[in-house]
Symmetry: C3
Subunit: 640 residues, 3 copies
């Protein structure tokens, strides 16, 4: 067996927040904890260039040398996510403006407009300067451009860039007027300069304008990333850390080709088991963006989950469980924000690898234990994550379903996809995310949750799919311009599903179907043109249907009902769900005749798993079975 | 019997949203559905004048000819509710500004300031051009100016107009200072240019300034309407569609003389039986604005009720029930927004006569059924709606009770009036809306719900009224400048009611009276000067009183208690509530010896009604009684 | 016995709102009610100077003479809290600007920026003019500068003043960068003009910037006050009325030396017993600001408690109870806002001594009864309020705990202090408020609730304290720059408490401790270094600890549990809680051998109190015991 490459362990390291005497302790503690990679410089612009054109590299030279001489590799960041205060004064036009017209000021982070020429020039300049100085510094393992691209602005610079992008997309105004249906409410444009970002307007905005603005923003941010990448002038791999959130105008899938490593930050937004499901979801999505290959968890929080400003502490052992969940799904490491908790600043209560209490702490002890563990897991990285099921994911459909004028304010694309993912997660079935135009023939089941926008090409691909196709409400409704496909919902999928929906009937509360299944929030008035009715509403109308391999659910099922239906679909696909104890998460990776199983026991009970294998965590051989203590985990190497 | 004029059936028709090949299908379907009137051009400005001064009338010529040749009449609109984007660029000062100073941008509708000279000129110009071209076009049955007047702005143009209006109202600043009580908080004005719209200020605004601003806005919008009416230069009847809502600064009653037909849009904002009650309420109000005569339901939604962005589907048959409720109360037709559901734009999910699913749909079938029905009901339009009860309505009191610094944030004028109306609706008693200075002697009961502002003249009129007078909290409290009438509430009605209220005591939750009646949200500390106490609070203080014909309730009664009290008042008025099954709505119209009764069964049970009559719906004679199926309706012609 | 000085009774009197004929009635009613002090002119700027430089003093001359000739003393106000509309037009740059950049307009009150030179000049000018005219007018007992200082602005004038203040505090930018931890998120300042008020920014603001802005604002408002005080040129005592609220950027304690009398406005914000507790809290705080001596209740509402726009009526007798609560704690009077309820304006529903109903009212009768009573209580003013317990109060810690990025959005400094105060209030134990650097040796118990910011000096003082020290969560966490003290929480108090907290664990809902005590909202991961564990969490970790005289609670206890713990602490302090019936509030004052006890019965039951004393309220001698009727009160003079 070839010695596998080590997994990365570490996090954001911000030495500029501390006096140099702390740096020595930092490195000593990093070594104790097994840290082998730190991200430096993410928010260091004002430390590196305290005044326009005056650079202070001494501290960074020193830090890189110190790390290098201690064998700790560095991901070096360009600091462009937070321009210094002097930049605001020099270029007030580069400060971001809200849809309401409020020009924001520095005093936090991300106070720039990505479309402002002054910002773009300044960002490219600092990137070039850093690239020239540190491009191939021996400490540098990777370059990290910017941080969490995702900030939006509505200023005049943005308006100009938006127009340029729209010209590229539509060619002429007639095409734009058609795509945006501007004949509605007298919005017809007769000159490009009449087109603006969706600034605050009197009443409901134009939904396609809003959608195109997010598409544009994704492309514009990508262009800004590419500019920095181009000027860095290094042969070292370059990436940026993807951030996930309902406000983020980035289609990460379209960015994936431009990063040498797909890197994500992952912060669940709810406590309890939901956080585990979100972790699995985020990691599966990252792997999809990485084309199924390995990727990197660039940030997670060591000790807590932040739910709208409310910190939920992670229980003992949970940080390791979360890290394993990422590693199992293809992450080449477990990194954290940040190494040492800040004394001041806005995120002083963001938990860290070294907490305010210092290294004599539960937190640092758990970090050290995790650091010890990682080398034993490196071999499993050779295995490919197993998945016979694909769930379709489409950032643009998400955006379209956040737009104005939808039939119900409770429509929630993300929850629709999460709910689909959750059922397979609960059943221990590995899942990939995919796009409709990907090669789906490798999957036995494809789930299409709320894929609102569907091009003709994508619809054709789904119609040709021969495995089990499970479709949920609001899929196939609109074309790429978010215009409704007429003749009955779900327009593009009507034929393959053999149904025709006349009306959406959102509801408050729940509804019980003829099978006892329970739906909530949504029903539809549907007729069956060529399908079997699997469940009906109280009035006898169809609720769940099946046409050969194509299944349609016209309500939001609750979890038990959804899982029961998924079991039926799996049966039709001849997939037999494994028989793990409920609450034990299992991820399988395989290469050749070797199989690695990651087992994460999220329950409060011991769980027994049948296996003859070596447990990489303990180094012990199991003899027929393994008992996982509550909250613990194992990684089993098994031979076929 | 003279052949009655046909009732109107149809809706907003926006052919500019569709390619011409759809128009032919439209007209064919309209004929199939019995459509005889469509509203064209409401939001067509950018289609009619795509660039300043360049007009495109070809499509409209074609559409009018097509409709005309198919016998479908047209309500032709001026498109001034949504200026095109080019207008914003030419006149940025004509974009509306919020109280916060945010200048709104086009991208929705209604993005204009009605006080901006450029807007007024542009609106008059497009109206004139349309009038010249289509003024007496043979297809045109009616002109429809603008759409749903009600948009507010706080810009400097508005400030100037507001000052002009205030000069007209008050003459000099001393009178304004007095009316506004500017001595409070040092707000005394010493020059007109110091007076502004109620823009965002530090703390509570001046309530009379806020009230006068709404009064001014109603008059200013009316002036804009009159300008268009004047330039249209047509002999065809002219109207505009009234919209109802808490944000609307329009006193429709004061507009009624300026429209040739009172036309309303009606959209209930809650599901279930509440929507039926709101429909009856809106229709009774429209009839009042029309001086008791006929009026026109210009817009309703075919298939759903929108409750803050949440669509509630109308059950099968409900659209017809709602339409009958309007027709019964004097509407000369049933029109919808809109004919064909849009593919795109903000209101693509607004239901329509032809839904996304197309004509092969429940929706279009119900539309067709309703279209078939209407001709049979035309004769009843000759009958006058019967009402022996009047409820007073006053837009200005509504506005005053939305102002700053009231004793409780749950004060709700609209609910106070609705609650009064609801009791009579439930009892099957016809109701008119009236103003205090109307001739009230024709009514046996007059209800005065929360008539906060009362002029001396109005107070005198109410005091002189000899029927049963039922007054609820917050009536008669203030003069027309919203200044409290001193000496004890309800100042202007103290003598007629024989009570004196020292203090308002809003409460959380409920209170039980000595009679078992239940109140909520509000109580008062009242002494009786010359009245009988009908019910007391727990501490023995008076809660409900009666002085001869004048009744006073000092709390918000729940529906059963309110209804019980109304029954007492009706008994005193010698009105005997009819004995219909509960949940069956009945509206009676009469002329000479003919009586038409509209019966709407809102229950889930069959309902039996005693009658010897012809049911215009079925054409059948009833023999002593009629059984109404659940959710169905009848219109009975009965002879005395 | 020397005749004591009379207690003040009266309120804000705004004759400019009424025609002169009302003034005569006013004075007659004042005399009837026993009013001896009224505040005149608070919002009279536009009446005194209706146009720039044109003064109208006639009415004020007349009013002062009228009051003087009737023996009613006057507190004369400078009217600078509400500049007239003409001022806005002359100086638009002096209108306040929100953090969002919205420039507010006149139309309410407080529409000025205290940092605008034009405002400061105008304020000083009107103060000087008034001082020259009325400085030593025989009617004037006191001068009242401005009203409720507390308005904030974010404009460029403010930015300049803020920078000046920061230069004074920090000397150079390096010190500011260090204090603000600007190395976090690249906020390093390299020139003073880069520093701004915390205007709206992209994401979380810098917490120390936010804190310093409030500190600055307190100082800046104080400077404005001092300017007026200086120009008044009078020998009459000068004060301003302190207002209390979460939005107020004033550290009243630091102002106390500049006022000749500490004066407060007190408006509880919740109904029921909570209002009584708040009243006691506010009065104890005022006495602390006054250095333990007497102070003055300048405003309270006669008839209602305003809870976010919702008026809760005060029950009969409650106004007197509230007034007694203030008097007992050192107020030299009971004043109200306002004398006569306004007819119009924003606060027309603010209750008053003479309500809308006029003098023939419960309200005025209760006012008159209270006025009769006060002279009998004047003698007790000689007594010192007894307190053996001190609670620490720190406005800056409040502000810091309102800042961005804290571990939980439910952190509530005010509630933390109120909860501590409430326990002693319930037990009938007198409490002082104090600062950590005050002489604490006179107290047997010192409570430290959430004293987040702690200087080294203050921490040393607390560590040296020898009485019982009771500390609650979030105390001693940060230094004066709000930077976390490292090594484990609560940094500055770790040694004295003998505990080390590694992590904060905010929770939803409740937790039960080993002792049966119940906590909520907050727990901590704590180890004991040198303390006894008094209670543990479910997992056995310490929850409540004691190290000799130092007690620590790591959760928010509910009231019964908190009171039980307080009883333990009192026992350790050898303080025996008096045995009053629960719900009877008792305040004790003493001088020499005379003791006055104020007894307020907040219960619905009669309460028996053992005493041999004279009841000043009734003039009767008690014989061994006194029975207090429900809702009534007594003031007992007892001799040792």
């Amino acid at each position: 067996m070839v010695e596998p490459k080590p997994l990365w362990f570490g996090g954001d390291y911000n030495p500029e927040q501390w006096p140099p005497q702390v740096w020595a302790e930092d490195v000593e503690l990093m070594r104790r904890a097994g840290v082998n990679l730190v991200t430096v410089g993410v928010f260091s612009w004002s430390s590196l260039e305290p005044e326009p054109g005056r650079y202070e590299f001494g501290w960074l030279d020193q830090v890189l040398d110190l790390l290098h001489s201690n064998g700790i590799r560095v991901t070096l960041a360009t600091p462009t996510a937070s321009p210094p205060p002097w930049f605001s004064l020099a270029h007030p036009d580069a400060l971001p403006v809200t849809a309401d017209g409020v020009r924001l000021l520095h005093g936090s982070r991300d106070t720039y407009c990505v479309c402002a020429p002054a910002y773009r020039e300044a960002a490219a300049r600092i990137a070039r300067v850093l690239g020239e100085r540190y491009g191939d510094h021996p400490a540098v393992e990777m370059w990290h451009v910017h941080n969490e691209y995702g900030t939006t602005c509505y200023c005049d610079h943005v308006a100009e860039s938006f127009r340029r992008w729209l010209r590229g997309r539509y060619g002429d105004l007639a095409a734009l007027n058609d795509a945006w249906t501007t004949a509605f409410w007298s919005q017809g444009y007769s000159a490009w300069e009449q087109v603006f970002p969706p600034r605050r307007t009197q009443y409901l905005a134009n939904p396609t304008q809003v959608l195109d603005f997010r598409r544009f923003y994704s492309d514009e941010l990508l262009a800004a990333y590419r500019e920095q990448k181009a000027v860095l002038g290094t042969r070292v791999p370059i990436t940026t850390n993807f951030v996930f959130g309902s406000w983020v105008p980035v289609d990460h899938w379209r960015w994936a080709d431009d990063v040498d490593v797909v890197a994500i930050d992952h912060y669940p937004d709810g406590p309890g088991i939901e956080a585990e499901q979100q972790t699995a979801f985020g990691a599966d999505l990252a792997r999809a963006w990485a084309g199924g290959g390995s990727w990197l968890l660039m940030e997670q929080a060591a000790g807590s989950i932040n739910d709208r400003g409310r910190m939920h502490a992670k229980e003992p052992g949970r940080m390791a469980l979360n890290s394993l969940s990422h590693l199992a799904r293809g992450s080449r490491g477990a990194l954290f924000f940040q190494w040492r908790a800040s004394r001041g600043g806005s995120e002083r209560y963001h938990t860290a690898m070294v907490p305010h209490a210092g290294p004599d702490s539960r937190m640092f002890r758990e970090i050290t234990e995790l650091g010890e563990l990682l080398p034993r897991l490196a071999e499993a990285d050779a295995g490919v994550v197993e998945a016979e099921v694909a769930i379709l994911w489409d950032a643009e459909s998400w955006w379209a379903l956040q737009g104005p004028g939808l039939p119900s304010p409770t429509i929630d694309y993300l929850e629709s996809v999460r709910a689909a993912h959750r059922q397979f997660w609960s059943l221990g079935i590995g899942v990939d995310f995919a796009r409709p135009t990907d090669d789906l023939s490798r999957y036995r089941v494809v789930v299409v949750p709320s894929l609102y926008l569907l091009t003709d090409e994508a619809a054709a691909a789904l119609s040709a799919y021969e495995g089990q196709l499970l479709v949920t409400p609001l899929s196939g409704i609109a074309d790429e311009a978010a215009r409704i496909r007429l003749g009955g919902y779900p327009g593009a999928l009507r034929d393959v599903l053999g149904v025709r929906v006349e009306e959406f009937h959102p509801i408050d509360g729940e509804v019980e179907l003829s099978t006892g299944a329970r739906g909530h929030g949504w029903t539809e008035l549907m007729t069956v043109t060529d399908a079997e009715v699997l469940a009906t509403y109280e009035n006898g109308d169809p609720a769940i249907t099946r046409r050969a391999n194509a299944w349609y659910i016209s309500t939001w099922l609750d979890d038990p009902s959804y899982e029961a239906l998924v079991r039926q679909v799996l049966q039709a696909a001849a997939i037999d769900p494994p028989n793990y104890p409920r609450g034990v998460e299992v991820i399988t990776r395989r290469t050749g005749r070797t199989r690695w199983r990651y087992l994460l026991n999220h329950t409060g009970q011991p769980a027994e798993i049948a296996t003859d294998a070596e447990n990489l965590i303990t180094g012990e051989e199991t003899a027929g079975s393994l008992v996982l203590a509550p909250g613990s985990f194992a990684v089993l190497r098994e031979q076929a």
